[in-house]
């Protein structure tokens, strides 16, 4: 199936700014889905609220554009009630980790089979460029006009600690790796997290004088490195990309099926 067959052309043009990373993530995701050869009818995409959350409107799957921060909770209900469906949940960094942070760690802990994609542009794009939990110390935003004193956290470390059974990271610059990791995350049975470092040239880029979208992409190339590379040993500030965790763990819906069997037997 061609990529355009996964798209709802009726709803274009999209709302994103020129150079925004969200369209690149959409593209990478559709390529991954095409590669795996999933049927459109077996995919449910659930999103919250934000520029990133609008991805769900443009794809020809069963799509639920829900409320800010709660996408994973809706997805949990859908998956649990119909486990044969494939759940894909794209979220902004604010959506997933500020207002939705609690749902995120509990979804990771539960290990229900779904793929959480955190599109980390380090800013609240939709509301006009306020700092997010991922902005980081020393960055500039509409609500940190004198420089941000909020510390960020590492999405990968958080996901691992919370118990996600698949954790990966890539960037919008590394399109091939993005498609590859997303594909593996979707195939993985259990709760998978993919952090995609992405650019919001309109707010994060402008406020932090990072130049154009292309300059920001170039930044991802320079500031990241494959997991365990020699470059990382030389420069510990480099951010690693790749698959950090992939482990077999009991999946929640499977476990609940066992509970049903026990309850039906009367013990």
């Amino acid at each position: 199936m061609a990529i355009k067959d996964y798209i709802r052309e009726r709803f274009f043009p999209h709302i994103w700014c020129p150079g925004c990373g969200h369209g690149m993530v959409l593209n990478g995701l559709l390529r991954a889905i095409e590669k795996i050869g999933l049927d459109k009818n077996e995919i449910v995409m659930v999103s919250g609220i934000g520029c990133s959350a609008r991805i769900s409107g443009y794809v020809d799957f069963h799509t639920l554009h829900s409320i800010h921060g709660r996408a994973l909770s809706f997805a949990t209900g859908i998956k649990m009630s119909r486990p044969e469906l494939k759940l894909i949940v794209p979220m902004g960094d604010g959506d997933a980790l500020a207002i939705g942070g609690n749902h995120f760690i509990h979804a990771a802990r539960r290990n229900m089979d779904m793929t959480a994609i955190i599109i980390n542009n380090r800013i609240y794009g939709m509301t006009g460029g306020q700092h997010s939990p991922l902005s980081g110390y020393g960055t500039m935003s509409a609500t940190s006009p004198y420089s941000n004193i909020d510390n960020d956290f590492d999405v990968v470390e958080l996901s691992v600690a919370a118990g996600a059974s698949f954790v990966g990271r890539t960037t919008t610059y590394h399109t091939k790796q993005m498609t590859d990791i997303l594909g593996q995350a979707i195939i993985h049975k259990g709760f998978s997290v993919v952090e995609i470092m992405s650019q919001c040239p309109t707010y994060f880029g402008r406020k932090n004088r990072l130049g154009s979208a292309i300059d920001m992409l170039e930044g991802f190339r320079k500031n990241t490195t494959p997991i365990g590379s020699k470059a990382k040993q030389k420069d510990p500030d480099l951010i690693e990309r790749g698959i950090f965790v992939r482990k077999k763990m009991p999946e929640y819906c499977d476990e609940y099926d066992k509970i049903i069997k026990r309850a039906m037997k009367g013990n």
Partner: protein, 382 residues
């Protein structure tokens, strides 16, 4: 003993009613005085092959059942005041996206954390207006266990009929009290199933284009039709829109589909109203004390009557007006500062003759409390 006869708590009976109505998915978070519902669901659902989830909070609980409803399941969650407050945003989502679900609020005393183990009826207005924006909502209640059963089944039927959340506003007394109950046989109470679209695969399906009668056929997530669901103002495709005409049409549809059917949704019971000079209006556990007073006074030949409301929203204004037309006095009996009182005053011909008999201290309102108010109205002093 008849095996359908049991002696159980209202909360547990609500679970049995939900299962009778066809519920097979539940998500919740513990909170007094609703916790028994969560615990019974955890035990009962897997026994019938249904699904139970304990979520990380009430927000996630409501969101999860909304998701499960979209795949075609009958769903419910239960909570009390603090949890109900947390649910308000997702409640609005279910209203906007027209996703059937049942939310039980077993009311406790007071606001905020209040008095968790005591009774109150202070969530009547929150149930009506707790979520933001113009909308309509169905809110039902009951005063005894047998009615809890019937009203719970009704709640599922109405949720499916109108594609809307329905709130069951029970209270601590009804939830915790034990009463002898009788489980109706299968088929005794008719059940409503969701109206599913007849549009064939491959033909354009408009998920948000209501039929002329206001009903909106659904296609379950995972079935042939793929479409978008959103809490934003949306067009017939379910796609966000800021077109004023579309926004107007949507708000009107969401309100009218319920308020134009107020008569059909109104559930109530009446006792001795034909010749009543003084009418008590009450609901939930407070109506038990009101009925006690009415029967007591009737036995002494006094013309008292009781109108027990079981549908609180949409408020049955014309019903109340009609029933109270000949009354000299109307006394609203409730355990809050006068939340149903306001609606009664709006619709009766002589609002100055409407009085309140209430308690707001977490203590169950007694027949004596009501009698004291009646004596004051009658000029007899307490």
């Amino acid at each position: 003993m008849n095996e359908n006869l049991k002696f159980i708590q209202g909360n547990e009976f609500c679970v049995e009613a939900a299962l009778y109505a066809g519920l097979d998915f539940y998500a919740g978070y513990p909170i007094t005085p609703s916790t028994e519902i969560l615990e019974h669901m955890a035990k009962r659902l897997p026994e019938i092959g249904g699904k139970f989830l304990q979520m990380e909070d009430e927000i996630a609980s409501l969101c999860a059942i909304i998701g499960a409803s979209l795949t075609g399941h009958k769903v419910m969650t239960a909570t009390s005041g603090p949890g109900f407050s947390l649910m308000q945003e997702a409640l609005g989502y279910a209203i906007m996206a027209e996703i059937p679900c049942v939310i039980v609020d077993v009311q406790r005393g007071g606001s905020s954390t209040g008095i968790p183990t005591h009774v109150g009826q202070g969530d009547v207005m929150q149930a009506r207006w707790g979520t933001h924006g113009d909308h309509a909502i169905i809110v039902m209640t009951a005063s005894n266990h047998q009615d809890v059963f019937a009203i719970t089944v009704d709640a599922f039927n109405l949720a499916e009929t109108y594609r809307t959340p329905v709130i069951l506003l029970f209270d601590e007394v009804v939830g915790h009290m034990r009463e002898r109950i009788f489980i109706p046989a299968k088929g005794e109470i008719p059940l409503v199933e969701r109206l599913r679209t007849s549009v064939k695969k491959g033909v354009d399906f408009h998920p948000y284009l209501p039929r002329e009668d206001g009903r909106l056929p659904i296609s379950d997530f995972g079935e042939a039709h793929r479409y978008n669901v959103t809490g934003m103002v949306h067009d017939m495709w379910g796609f966000p829109s800021d077109n004023p005409k579309i926004a107007y049409g949507l708000v009107r549809h969401l309100v009218d589909k319920i308020e134009n059917n107020t008569d059909k949704i109104a559930r109530y019971k009446e006792y001795y109203l034909e010749d009543a000079r003084t009418i008590l209006i009450s609901y939930g556990s407070a109506a038990r004390s009101a009925l006690h007073v009415v029967e007591n006074r009737r036995s002494r030949g006094e013309s008292l009557g009781l109108l027990e409301l079981q549908t609180l929203w949409p408020f049955p204004y014309s019903l109340v007006q009609e029933k109270c037309a000949d009354a000299k006095y109307v006394v609203v009996v409730e355990m809050n500062a006068g939340q149903v009182l306001q609606s009664v005053k709006i619709c009766v011909d002589r609002p100055e003759r409407v009085f309140l008999a209430n308690r707001i201290d977490g203590v169950f309102i007694t027949p004596t409390d009501i009698r004291n108010i009646l004596r004051l109205i009658e000029g007899k002093g307490v």
